[in-house]
């Protein structure tokens, strides 16, 4: 790895803490970002010569703060602060910074920075874009690529989102325990949105980068909230799902169903870390939606072959999830487990009442069509698959259903 690549990783790693601290200091998102940008530029000049500081975040906060103040002072025609070369040994400056960098400050700084992106007025896509820009430091170009929109459109989207959060007035005092856990819940949901944005459209490097980034944010949250089983669950869930990334699409970019995936392609390292986190979470005996979803993903991960899947366990986990967080999509997912356990007829009965709410969701008709097919009801299956194709969000989704349909037509012809 070259110097610059190492510095890039160090800057990315230190960014949430540094921008979070600078935001608390300047109480202005744009100024905090500019100050960080300036500090990062100086780091790229300074670090290769003087070696990396022992605490990159502390270095960046101090240099960023001075750079930010510098700007103000220059405007006021006063004397500039000393150059950062004279403070390159962070040990000297650590004492005055200690108060700002102690654990609880650090935790609330990062949480606040993430929380700002979760403003309830912002639509999900804007929350994700804002988090990727502000917290992760992805360039507008990178984010635009992931969302398949033009750079100008993404720039505008982020600017508008920033204006909205600037008016929101998030308090800068350290939050109380209730407030803190509310913020954490909102932030976890946003991190999972980032993950799903990358996961749902799947193939493509820009998209996969979103999954990696969400996992990095999950680990970051977990370092800040080491005893929160739901943070363990969320991180485990993302690790276990992302572990299947390479097996989820075939060479032609088409979706491969879980039961048809080549399990040798699953990433054992990610699965190992996800299972380790689940072990830790279980000890707390405080189940939550992320832990249960992670447990479902873990059940799949533990099955060496699709036929070994513990469907009864998965059905029970979905039942628990339904009780905790009633949702038609969860019932639809549960129906797949029910079909394996009790047959397609039982599954069809289970999802019959869902059509009213899920009538616009491609997967509803995809799943129902598959059940119809298992029961040999060709005409109904075909009608459902056609509806699913019409409702699909991405070409890969449509192609996946179409393949189902083609296979079915072929079987019907040869019969």
């Amino acid at each position: 790895m070259t110097d610059l690549a190492w510095i890039g990783a160090a800057l990315a790693a230190a960014r949430p803490q540094a921008v979070g601290a600078l935001l608390r200091y300047f109480r202005d998102l744009d100024r905090a970002e500019e100050a960080f940008q300036e500090a990062a530029l100086r780091a790229m000049k300074n670090w290769p010569q003087n070696g990396p500081p022992r605490d990159p975040a502390a270095w960046l906060i101090l240099v960023g703060r001075n750079a930010g103040l510098d700007g103000v002072r220059k405007q006021a025609r006063t004397v500039a602060l000393p150059e950062e070369d004279s403070i390159s040994d962070v040990e000297d400056v650590e004492a005055p910074l200690a108060e700002r960098l102690d654990g609880s400050h650090y935790r609330d700084d990062v949480l606040r920075l993430l929380f700002i992106c979760c403003h309830p007025d912002l639509p999900a896509t804007q929350q994700i874009a804002l988090a990727l820009r502000i917290v992760s430091g992805l360039t507008v170009k990178q984010i635009a690529r992931a969302f398949l929109v033009s750079e100008a459109a993404m720039e505008q989207r982020i600017t508008r989102a920033k204006q909205r959060v600037a008016r929101a007035d998030v308090p800068f005092e350290a939050p109380g325990p209730v407030e803190r856990s509310q913020r954490l819940a909102a932030v976890m949901a946003m991190v999972y949105l980032v993950f799903n944005e990358g996961y749902s459209a799947g193939d493509g490097e820009a998209r996969a980068a979103l999954c990696d980034e969400a996992i990095r944010l999950g680990r970051l949250l977990l370092r800040l909230f080491q005893t929160e089983p739901e943070v363990m669950g969320l991180t485990a869930l993302m690790l276990l799902q992302h572990a299947r990334a390479h097996a989820r699409f075939d060479a032609g970019g088409e979706i491969v169903l879980l039961e048809d995936q080549d399990r040798a392609q699953w990433d054992g390292e990610l699965i190992g870390e996800g299972l380790a986190l689940m072990d830790k979470a279980m000890r707390h005996n405080r189940p939550g939606p992320y832990q249960i979803q992670a447990a479902i993903a873990a059940t799949h991960a533990r099955a060496a072959r699709a036929a070994d899947t513990d469907w009864a366990g998965i059905d029970a986990l979905y039942a628990a999830l339904e009780r905790m967080q009633p949702s038609p999509v969860i019932t639809l997912n549960r129906a797949v487990a029910t079909a394996k356990l009790h047959g397609p007829e039982a599954a069809l009965a289970m999802i019959a009442p869902l059509e009213k709410v899920l009538g616009g969701y491609f997967n509803f008709y995809g799943v129902r069509g598959a059940f119809q097919l298992q029961l040999g009801r060709s005409a109904e299956a075909r009608a459902d698959f056609n509806r699913a194709i019409a409702l699909a969000n991405t070409p890969a989704e449509a192609a996946h259903i179409r393949r189902h349909l083609d296979r079915h037509l072929l079987e019907a012809q040869t019969r």
Partner: protein, 127 residues
Amino acid sequence: MLYAILCYHDENTVWSWSKEEDAAVMDKIGAVRSRLTAQGKLGASLRLMPTTAATTLRKNQDPPLVIDGPFAETKEQLLGFYILDVENLEAALDAAREIAAVNPGGAFEIRPIALFNPDARKGAQPA
């Protein structure tokens, strides 16, 4: 003499490496490992999961307390180690320098091993 080379680095940074960057580092480490193995100097080596996956058993009370996370909050974390079988500290330092050369940043503690119990399980392979 047996030495452990304990590898410390800011895990935040290490786990921010892209897949490609990580693979490039691991490739270079692999080459150093093969060289040291061929010279009969290298024993077992391992890489640890991030400290977020760690659990600590603290015996300052009875029964011992189980704590989520690593033993200590530090700027650099223990990320893995190598076991070396070399004649003296100088030789251990030489090997550590080779390992350090292909690692971007970090610190490498050379610690003599007082007691070594090899894995006694037959054909043992980690799960």
